[in-house]
């Protein structure tokens, strides 16, 4: 797990190791994180998911050494 932007500020660290059973989905990892950091819930629910630097759907299952990152909403817009 790596954390960026608003997520990193809530968690208070850049990265951490997440140990999950084989076959765990990204969605399940998200639920686990919310249990660990309840304040992440609103931002995680609006975040996209990336595994190994590619956007993935939430039903993607995680493998050993996968780099999982939740991507908080981007600034984007008209600026």
């Amino acid at each position: 797990m790596r954390y960026f932007a608003g997520l990193r500020e809530v968690v208070g660290q850049d990265a951490e190791l997440l140990t999950v059973p084989e076959g765990t989905t990204v969605a399940a990892a998200r639920t686990l994180l919310i249990t660990r950091y309840p304040r992440l819930q609103p931002i995680l629910e609006r975040s996209l998911c990336a595994v190994n630097r590619e956007y993935v759907p939430a039903d993607r299952t995680l493998q050993e050494n996968d780099e999982l990152v939740f991507i908080p909403p981007l600034g984007g817009g008209a600026a």
């Binding site: 990336a50 630097r53 981007l74 600034g75 600026a79």
Partner: protein
């Protein structure tokens, strides 16, 4: 040419990016610069702070530039994004597209910045007189 992609904490260098895309077959060049402005959403901005997931940001930009090459034949492209604290009037992003004819340069440059803003993992925090907040588009 291989696209130039920079994600950097240093001030962006427009001249160097333009020089990187120059070539004898270039007839039109479009440069977009995103500049930090002094107000947004009714707030007086002091400065912006950019954060990125740098490896993924670079990879996403590469995909976007590749798509622009396919769609408009834009072979000569440079994209630079600044990270960290950026002051009012400074550039946060510069995109340079050079093509034989101008229409393709306009289309490709606009596509690259619009897509970058929505899919590349770079975030901005507005630091205003009222406090600070990560901006959601």
């Amino acid at each position: 040419m291989e696209p130039v992609i920079q994600i950097t904490r240093e001030p962006l260098n427009r001249e160097a990016l333009v020089a990187a895309v120059a070539a004898p077959e270039v007839g039109g060049m479009v440069i977009f610069e995103g500049v930090v402005r002094n107000q947004a959403r009714g707030k007086q901005i002091r400065y912006l702070e950019y954060d990125a997931y740098p490896e993924m940001a670079e990879q996403q930009i590469r995909l976007i530039v590749e798509e622009a090459r396919k769609r408009w034949g834009a072979e000569r492209v440079a994209v630079a994004h600044r990270l960290g604290r950026v002051e009012i009037g400074e550039a946060s992003v510069i995109i340079v597209v050079a093509t034989p004819h101008r229409a393709e340069a306009f289309e490709a440059c606009r596509y690259i910045i619009d897509t970058l803003k929505t899919t590349v993992p770079i975030w901005k925090k507005e630091v205003s007189l009222d406090g600070e907040a990560w901006v959601e588009g």
